[in-house]
């Protein structure tokens, strides 16, 4: 070994081991950022956020190291597909490639398309079907958050992990609804944007992933409410030099490309081929790995996330 001082950046260790400690360097002066009026000032200097490659590898280890997560994830895809077919969905099957993605990516495909296809009648019934699907997807998202966090924290994911994950349900539900609203508004604005609509859509998806992706992990590990979790998620995402934007953009872009790229199972039909199953199941594992990688990234910097800025006292208050 070289003997040089090692900075254990991103070396999240499960409880019982050496927890990552915040760096001892003095906090630099807060820098005003775009959202500082709403959230905390951005901190300067490097963070303990692990690099992209390490996050992905840790995500793979987390998911692939647990027969429970892999098995449940894959079987869930089968269950979702059979449920959709029983409800009258005619395909394309390839939509399910994003069934385990996080909102708003999942909203782009599964959450809106399948209910719209199977619900007949008035707009209200379509809306009700969409909200039912959003709620189901929020449960799935929360449950897998519990599983990956348990696995990361050194335990083994089990059905108890899935139950524990339900603590994050309010947050995942809020994220799903927010994703749906963002995309609905985007759809209405799309005609005004013309050729830029696709880029605007991608930007909305990246932004949603970037800002809100940590929220379920926060709700689960820190037992905070929806607004606190989302606020903290935004602050964690915006930590400088954390590479979060690039990490989210890479994932969101890959997911959107996967969604629109021609692939097996892209036509109408309810009996998928072996190749179509392979593509959808591998992609589903990819989404679970990303979820685990996100959880890992947040747990590594949990102690470094800046607190919200205190709201300045309005002049004159308390003078009486």
């Amino acid at each position: 070994m070289s003997g040089k001082k090692r900075r254990r950046s991103g070396s999240y260790r499960p409880p019982g081991g050496a927890a990552p400690s915040p760096r001892e360097a003095p906090e630099p002066a807060p820098r005003r950022g775009l959202l500082d009026t709403l959230f905390a000032p951005r901190t300067g200097g490097p963070t303990s956020m692990p690099g992209g490659v390490r996050s992905w590898v840790r995500g793979i280890v987390t998911v692939f190291g647990s027969p429970w997560i892999v098995g449940t994830g894959l079987v869930l895809i089968l269950v979702i597909w059979i449920g959709a077919v029983l409800a009258g969905f005619k395909g394309p099957f390839a939509l399910l490639a994003n069934a385990l993605s996080i909102p708003p990516i999942s909203t782009l495909s599964v959450d809106a398309t399948i209910p719209f296809s199977v619900a007949s009648g008035s707009g209200l019934s379509v809306l009700a079907a969409i909200f039912a699907t959003l709620a189901f997807r929020a449960v799935v998202y929360a449950a897998f958050t519990g599983a990956v966090v348990d696995q990361l924290e050194g335990g083994a994911a089990s059905h108890w992990s899935l139950l524990r994950g339900l603590r994050a349900l309010p947050v995942t539900l809020a994220a799903s609804l927010a994703g749906f609203m963002i995309l609905t508004i985007g759809q209405q604005l799309a005609p005004l944007l013309g050729g830029l609509a696709l880029f605007a859509l991608l930007a909305a998806v990246v932004l949603g992933t970037y800002l809100f992706a940590f929220a379920p992990v926060i709700a689960l590990t820190e037992d905070v409410g929806v607004l606190s979790a989302i606020s903290r998620s935004v602050r964690a995402a915006r930590m400088p030099r954390s590479g979060n934007l690039a990490f989210a953009a890479l994932y969101a872009t890959a997911s959107v490309v996967l969604l629109f790229a021609p692939k097996p199972g892209g036509l109408l039909g309810v009996n998928p081929s072996v190749v179509a199953w392979l593509v959808v199941l591998v992609t589903s594992l990819f989404h679970l790995v990303f979820q685990a990688a996100l959880a890992f990234r947040y747990l590594c910097v949990a102690d470094e996330v800046p607190e919200p800025a205190a709201r300045p006292q309005p002049a004159g208050r308390g003078r009486r």
């Binding site: 090692r6 900075r7 254990r8 950046s9 991103g10 070396s11 692990p50 690099g51 490659v53 390490r54 590898v57 840790r58 793979i60 280890v61 998911v63 692939f64 190291g65 647990s66 027969p67 892999v70 098995g71 894959l74 079987v75 895809i77 089968l78 597909w81 059979i82 077919v85 029983l86 409800a87 009258g88 969905f89 005619k90 395909g91 394309p92 398309t113 719209f116 296809s117 199977v118 007949s120 892209g266 036509l267 109408l268 039909g269 309810v270 009996n271 998928p272 081929s273 072996v274 199953w277 392979l278 199941l281 591998v282 594992l285």
Partner: protein, 502 residues
């Protein structure tokens, strides 16, 4: 799967009990639905979807399997060279179609060109043949009202169920040269002086007895005496008309497209006798709605819309009887329905997929669907004897069993196919580039039929089996990778730390 249980049970009972007497039902359906309209014209396919009611039903049309009899090449024309042929009509031994700047007639038996008549440049809208005192009169529209298609405009290359390239209501920018022309298809002599329209017309002509109906993109509807050319009445619906009016039961039903200023589509019925308004319905939509040509089944007018809905209206009162959305996706243009045996056959499409549906005309419920998985643009289905025929933009011609919904025959060739026209024992359709022109199909004595269920028919054992074939090895592989990576994780993190520090 989308059927309600009572409907499914009813269907099952229907299949078991009525299979033996299906031929009798077909005859009854002909009598109830098609014959009133057919009785007023010749048995030829004389206009859009065959008759004034637009039933799309040919009681004596050919049955699959088919073979290609002949191909008559016709290169697309017009300023952009993109305007193909209109949907053809049949007059005696001739099949007649409108091209950008001429009207062409072909011998039905051989495909040889019989004659051509020059025409003022205009959208290739479907002509019609009226019988006046026992003699055929060919009616077609011409002219582009001073604004022929420019680069980037979409050319109307097919049947009249699709939007014309018109500028919308109003807005004429040049001299109006749009006319309704009548010629004798045997002598090619003009029968009467052309009737001036108020705007370009891409809708096509409808004939009912000795009266012709035509509408233009100003929304003006004309009823013209086919024997004299006299305009008997003219009324406006206030929206661009892209599809030919349907006429039955003393009513003329016209559909109007929504515009940017007013996205809602409208369906308007006039009294055929004098053009007085009968009823009017407006279909609201957040997006511009393009309706299909109406089709009239008994006392019900059926219209499909570009939002994917099919709606049924009482022919007398205009009351909406039902609305059904058979497909998952909106379709760019409403596809006109074909009517047979108490059912409407409609199609929808996306850029890569298309489906055929059988809808019960009394309830609006979907009886069956078949995913063709090819786009079906300008693809109004046709019922030829006992087969539902659908042409696709990928170039295939498909035949379906109207009872079971199974595909029973398929032919696949290069070039988009549309506008199927049954003509006696022959089937003529328009094909686009690279093999543009007319294709004629006839019965193939050596061909065979198939029985293919829709890919949207679930086979649960197959679903689970295919899943297991993939999921089991994938799970094993994932766990092996997980174990290997877990063992090497510490070393990896050290390396990654070093890289991070560098």
């Amino acid at each position: 799967m989308s059927e309600a249980a009572p409907v499914a049970i009813a269907r099952l009972v229907h299949l078991r009990v009525h299979r033996a007497v299906v031929a009798a039902l077909a005859v009854a359906a002909m009598a109830l639905v098609a014959v009133p309209a057919l009785a007023q014209v010749s048995s030829d396919w004389s206009q859009f979807q065959g008759d004034a009611a637009h039933t799309g039903f040919s009681p004596n049309g050919p049955q699959p399997p088919f073979e290609l009899l002949w191909h008559a090449p016709v290169e697309p024309g017009g300023p952009l060279g993109t305007q193909g042929l209109s949907a053809p009509v049949v007059s005696g031994d001739l099949v007649i179609a409108v091209a950008a700047e001429e009207v062409l007639a072909f011998d039905l038996a051989t495909g040889a060109q019989a004659w051509s008549v020059p025409r003022t440049l205009g959208p290739p809208a479907q002509p019609a043949v009226a019988l006046v005192a026992g003699r055929p009169v060919l009616l077609y529209t011409e002219g582009w009202a001073g604004h022929p298609p420019q680069a980037g405009a979409t050319g109307a290359t097919g049947p009249a169920s699709t939007p014309s390239p018109s500028p919308g209501a109003g807005g004429t920018t040049g001299p109006v040269d749009s006319r309704l022309v009548a010629i004798d298809p045997e002598t090619r002599d003009q029968v009467w002086e052309p009737v001036e329209l108020t705007e370009v017309s891409g809708a096509g002509v409808t004939v009912d007895g000795e009266r012709a109906y035509v509408a233009d993109s100003n929304g003006q509807v004309f009823a013209v005496d086919a024997s004299t050319g006299e305009v008997e009445w003219s009324e406006s619906i206030g929206r661009p008309v892209d599809a030919p009016p349907a006429v039955a039961g003393g009513a003329v039903v016209v559909t109007g497209r929504g515009t940017a200023a007013s996205p809602a589509a409208s369906i308007v019925a006039f009294k055929a006798a004098d053009g007085s308004p009968r009823w009017r319905q407006v279909v609201d939509s957040p997006a511009i709605l393009s309706p299909s040509a109406p089709a009239i089944a008994g006392d019900t007018a059926l219209v499909t819309f570009s939002d994917g809905t099919v709606r049924a209206y009482d022919l007398d009162s205009g009351t909406e009887r039902w609305s059904s959305r058979p497909g998952a996706t909106p379709t760019p243009t409403g596809s006109a329905a074909a009517l047979f045996d108490g059912a409407a056959f409609v199609t929808d499409t996306t850029a890569i997929t298309g489906s055929v549906y059988r809808i019960d005309t009394s309830s609006g419920s979907v009886v069956w669907d078949f995913a063709v998985n090819e786009p079906i643009i300008q693809g109004a289905p046709v019922v030829s004897s006992g087969s539902v025929l659908v042409a696709t933009t990928d170039g295939s011609l498909n035949a379906f069993d109207p009872e079971s919904g199974e595909r029973i025959w398929r032919d696949d060739r290069v070039g988009a196919l549309h506008a199927i026209t049954p003509a006696g024992s022959v089937l003529v359709a328009v094909r686009s580039r690279p093999r543009a022109g007319l294709d004629a199909f006839g019965p193939d004595p050596e061909g065979g039929l198939i029985r293919e269920v829709s890919p949207t028919t679930p086979e649960y054992p197959r679903i689970v089996g295919t899943f297991a074939i993939v999921a089991l090895p994938l799970t094993g592989l994932a766990l092996v990778i997980g174990r290997l990576l877990t063992a090497r994780m510490a070393a990896f993190e050290d390396e990654a730390d070093s890289e991070d520090e560098r």
